[in-house]
Symmetry: C2
Subunit: 419 residues, 2 copies
């Protein structure tokens, strides 16, 4: 089980790539290592490294490699996300994709070829580092593919598949060309609309079928905290719940999942509730089978001197903006230490709730993703079973419901939704 944090640099946040300071990064990583984590996830800014479609700045790539090496010195592995893209409400889109040069990020052949080149170059550069944990296509790139993004590059689901195949292939080629170990992960990261919004072209199937692990990002400001209260079961089990959904959609019961982002946002949680939220979220997630790791969002608070962030971004850190441990960080470190010392083997529940993705005739059920969203009928049933049995149930898709499938996943009892 891996425990890590998403690295939000102290000082000037990700704008610090423009004033790259190895000393500052080393200091940040030392503070992070003191949390007892084994890895960080890092976020280059795409337009800074590839400011022109045909220009990949070697100095920009070098800075990323330097962070990986500094992390090694701090005893940390690193996951590199390539396409940022989207970070904490800000979109970093290169000028060659904007206004007069606007073309579809996902389907324009020149754009996709050039994006592959960037992903490949970045991956190749870090591939040989023995502390490389993995490379992710980019942070929640699916946000750009549909509403409510204010300026989406609209695509069909099959176009999303094609794009993801190419990006994962670019990562794998880079890993191979750079001499990475076979264990290094190629992944994609989606925000939770993939699981909850039937209109999204990037959905659960994409999350579960592309790359080496199914990534989930859990944010209780998505309605969970509003419906269930900030420390209600539907909030502190939200990450666990997403992981059980991830397992349901996986074509392979052995496919690992990764809770790559989860945080305690102060727009729905009081500061004094954070430590308990941290602990309960972590412990609930541990019950899920095939979980490879948890990566908390985030390391450092965004300084309040920076403008226009959603206000909760200034308090998501386990460390404050100067690197001092916060109460949520202390609890995180304690729970991680405890789980490292004596985590029981995960025992996925033998009970599963059935998600009706198809009906009796085999036709897709409209709105089945929406039923999974916080407050939805499926989510409500899952949560009721979780609270009645004291364990988050597994999830089984109606379309995969066979005796063999249930057996493989250790499911001995299934619960249907009330008609």
């Amino acid at each position: 089980m891996r425990f890590g944090v998403n690295y939000t640099p102290s000082g000037d946040w990700f704008f610090s790539w423009l004033d790259f300071s190895p000393e500052r990064v080393a200091r940040d990583l030392d503070r992070i290592a003191e949390l007892g984590v084994d890895h960080v996830r890092i976020f280059p800014l795409w337009p800074v490294i590839q400011p022109n479609r045909s220009l990949i700045r070697s100095a920009g790539i070098d800075d990323v490699v330097t962070v990986v090496d500094l992390a090694r010195s701090a005893g940390l592995d690193v996951n590199v996300d390539a396409l940022q893209g989207h970070l904490s409400s800000f979109d970093f889109v290169p000028s060659w994709l904007q206004t007069w040069h606007r073309r579809n990020l996902f389907t324009d052949e020149q754009v996709v070829t050039s994006t592959e080149r960037y992903v490949h170059a970045l991956t190749t550069a870090v591939a040989g580092r023995d502390n490389l944990m993995g490379v992710t296509v980019g942070n929640e790139v699916n946000q750009f593919a549909h509403d409510p993004h204010p300026d989406p590059y609209r695509i069909h689901e099959t176009e999303g598949d094609t794009w993801l195949r190419r990006m994962i292939a670019a990562i794998r080629a880079g890993l191979r060309d750079g001499g990475a170990a076979p264990s290094v992960l190629a992944t994609l990261a989606q925000y939770d609309a993939a699981w909850y919004d039937d209109a999204q072209p990037f959905g659960p199937r994409q999350a579960a079928e592309h790359g080496d692990a199914t990534v989930v990002h859990s944010w209780v400001f998505n309605g969970a905290a509003a419906v269930h209260g900030p420390l209600g079961a539907g909030s502190v089990r939200h990450a666990e719940y997403l992981l059980t959904l991830a397992a349901a959609w996986s074509p392979d019961p052995a496919r690992p999942s990764w809770l790559q982002e989860v945080g305690a946002p102060n727009n729905v949680l009081a500061v004094e509730q954070e430590p308990e939220f941290v602990e309960r979220t972590l412990r609930h997630a541990m019950d899920v089978g095939e979980l490879l790791g948890v990566t908390w969002w985030c390391s450092h608070d965004v300084p309040r001197t920076l403008a226009d962030f959603p206000v909760f971004e200034h308090s998501l850190g386990l460390l404050d903006e100067t690197g001092r441990l916060k109460p949520s960080g202390r609890r995180f470190a304690e729970v991680v230490a405890d789980l490292r010392a004596r985590r029981p083997a995960p025992r996925p529940a033998s009970t599963a709730v059935v998600l009706d993705d198809i009906d009796a005739t085999g036709s897709p059920v409209p709105g089945h993703r929406a039923s999974c969203a916080p407050g939805g009928s499926f989510a409500g049933t899952w949560l009721r079973v979780a609270e009645e049995t004291g364990r988050g149930p597994q999830v089984v898709l109606r379309s995969r419901y066979t005796a063999e499938h249930l057996h493989l996943r250790g499911i001995t009892e299934t619960v249907d939704l009330p008609a």
Copy 2:
């Protein structure tokens, strides 16, 4: 009379701000100085210096100051443009103005206040340099205010005035706070739709009333070359023509004008026509009164290795991408040397064509700007008089037509358009 060039850095064009190399800039500026020019116009990238609304990177400012100092070593003065903004088809817009953070660039109070801070900080930093020629609000910022920009921040004309007043005031405050000489110019730069498109919120009045000089940018791909042929009078006199329009709109006959951009674009000109275009354009412009200078676009060709530029951008340089003198550059240098040695005093024509901006009842005439565009009725008359008399006529607005006004401007004969 000032002669200069717009400095397009060799190598990685303006992306080179991300890999700032004083050595490379010094080499470029030495090549530029060999053209016999006395100044360059330089273009920081706004999102690189102000990546967050509240973050103005001191290292970014320092790089701009370094360019100014390197220019001094090369014997060159410098005009600094602040808001880029728009450059050669690419828009560089900070993430804090995009997508989720989109707000009106010109009217949102937080945005305008923060833009003022940027303009003021940049200006203050360079103000004390004795080779500072001026500061321009930004390159053709008016492009963002209306169609055909694909994503305009729409405003009314009065909002444009308010914004310009604030930006010019920010420059003047920066010049004062940084100890600039009184001769340093505060200017705004507009692309020619201001003069030719009646719907633009930034128009001739804004060009002629804000700042210390009226700036014109002359590009014959705007229709002039198509209507008149690349070396036709309407093309090689296009810059001169814009300057006479600028003088017409000026509330003060003594207000200087500045041909801040003019170039020989290969989408409408053959390479072998460039030297003649350069020479005729320069010589025609010299006849205009109160012209303070000509700044050619541009110094260095955009390397062909960079993608997605309009194809003519790769050949606009007086120098090629390695800094070698091109035939157009040689002719430019020769003509500049000749004009420096023996330019006759400009003698604005005593004939003026009357532009009917108002009708007999004093009401604004719809479409009077369009009549000024290449191929328009006013432009045609101006050109006919120019060719008949051998000199570009002055322009007088109907709304300013008084005996005193004509006298002040040395106009003894006026030509009305055919009814």
